[in-house]
């Protein structure tokens, strides 16, 4: 009997995790968190750093909110969520400033902007405030990984076309003339638009 419960739980966990990666990918399907997506994807390294920071903040805030979920007063809960998220973002920002100063400067003000990233408040509201801690953690990691995945895909395309390198390792041959427009805002908007269109085509074909 307990084995059935365990397999049912595992199935739920796996479903929640996979949902965050694809069906409910925050950037590509839910269209949340667009601001950092466009801002930090000029190269893969900042995109990866941003993705990992979001995973950290999302997981910690989901844990804390889920622990507090029975104590929250309804009209103060957005304030509580915001306070929690702001604390963990401050910690993440201090960490980057201390151990990765170059990345901290490249990312600049977009690290504190994680506080107003709709993904984190959205997940706190939709999942962590209603579920136990373990599911909230899985949901956070799933969504965070989906976000990181989308960011890295976009960043690889942009960095490859803008400099011929991915993650600062040369991929294109020397004769490649870089598309400077890709590292500018125009490249960000157009690449993301086309990527979203591609995702629409793929999901259409699947259904």
């Amino acid at each position: 009997m307990s084995e059935n419960v365990q397999t049912a739980d595992l199935g739920l966990y796996r479903k929640t995790f996979i949902a965050g990666l694809w069906q409910e990918n925050p950037v590509l399907r839910l269209l949340l968190g667009m601001c950092p997506t466009l801002a930090v994807t000029a190269a893969v390294k900042p995109a990866l750093t941003m993705g990992l920071s979001v995973i950290f903040v999302l997981t910690c805030s989901n844990i804390v909110v889920s622990l507090m979920r029975n104590l929250l007063k309804p009209h103060l809960r957005i304030l509580m969520f915001t306070l929690t998220i702001a604390t963990f973002v401050t910690i993440a920002d201090l960490f980057l400033k201390a151990f990765q100063p170059v990345m901290s400067e490249t990312l600049g003000p977009y690290v504190p902007l994680i506080i107003v990233n709709c993904i984190i408040i959205g997940r706190a509201e939709a999942c962590a405030s209603k579920n136990t801690m373990f599911i909230s953690i899985i949901d956070a990691i799933g969504m965070g990984c989906g976000f990181t995945l989308a960011l890295c895909v976009l960043a690889s395309i942009r960095e490859l076309l803008a400099t011929g390198k991915v993650f600062e390792m040369a991929v294109m041959p020397d004769a490649f003339v870089p598309w400077a427009a890709m590292s500018m805002p125009v490249g960000a908007f157009i690449t993301l638009g086309l990527l979203l269109g591609l995702v629409n085509v793929i999901t259409k074909k699947q259904s």
């Binding site: 509580m80 929690t84 604390t87 401050t90 910690i91 201090l94 960490f95 151990f99 100063p101 803008a162």
Partner: protein, 204 residues
């Protein structure tokens, strides 16, 4: 009294949470603040040491005032580079000025008598990627290493390998190249005069 009690009943979690979070941040900050300070100092030191490789230690000596061509007053920090033996081997200072798109901030290094440039590094700039951005590349920067520390002249064609008072601009980035030369020209005489006034340059 019941109003206060009602208030506390509604918001006790908020107050407790605020206290705990505040504590968490204070602890984290105390633990990492020295590292963050060190990183800031390291960043400038690394930049200057890349321009003056024989320098062992760099310290800020003073602040100087540079007037821009438009009459705006800018402060420039002057750093002294000393070798391991304790001799001065060069000076570095930061200057800024308008570029093509936005402000360009440079760190400029000169030799110990302020005779020749030792080069420059770009602190911040917002130039067009692929064009004005090339002021960060060795092709343009190397032309300043060893160039005389006086008014430089930007030219469109010529041999960039010859190091003299003439600098060959980057193709397709005339405004950015000229901007760098203008910034250097504007600041070089003013800083040299102020350093002589302060007695920092010995008259050899």
């Amino acid at each position: 009294m019941s109003k206060v009690k009602h208030f506390i009943q509604q918001s006790w979690l908020l107050i407790v949470a605020a206290f705990c979070f505040g504590l968490l941040i204070a602890v984290t900050n105390a633990a990492w603040a020295p590292r963050i300070e060190q990183n800031k100092i390291d960043k400038l030191n690394n930049l200057i040491s890349s321009l003056l490789p024989e320098g062992e230690s760099f310290e800020q000596i003073t602040e100087l005032q540079v007037t821009s061509p438009k009459g705006k007053l800018l402060t420039s920090n002057l750093y002294k580079a000393t070798s391991e033996a304790g001799d001065c081997i060069g000076w570095a200072f930061n200057v800024s000025g308008p570029g093509f798109a936005d402000k360009i901030e440079l760190v400029v290094a000169v030799d110990k008598n302020f005779d020749k440039f030792a080069g420059y590094a770009v602190l911040t700039s917002n130039e067009t990627p692929g064009f004005g951005d090339k002021i960060k590349l060795p092709y343009y920067r190397n032309q300043f290493v060893g160039a005389p520390a006086e008014k430089l002249e930007p030219l469109k064609t010529g041999d960039p390998q010859i190091i003299d008072a003439q600098v060959i601009a980057i193709t397709g980035a005339t405004v950015s190249s000229d901007a760098v030369v203008k910034i250097l020209n504007n600041s070089v005489t003013q800083i040299k005069t102020q350093m002589q006034d302060k007695g920092l340059l010995s008259d050899e």
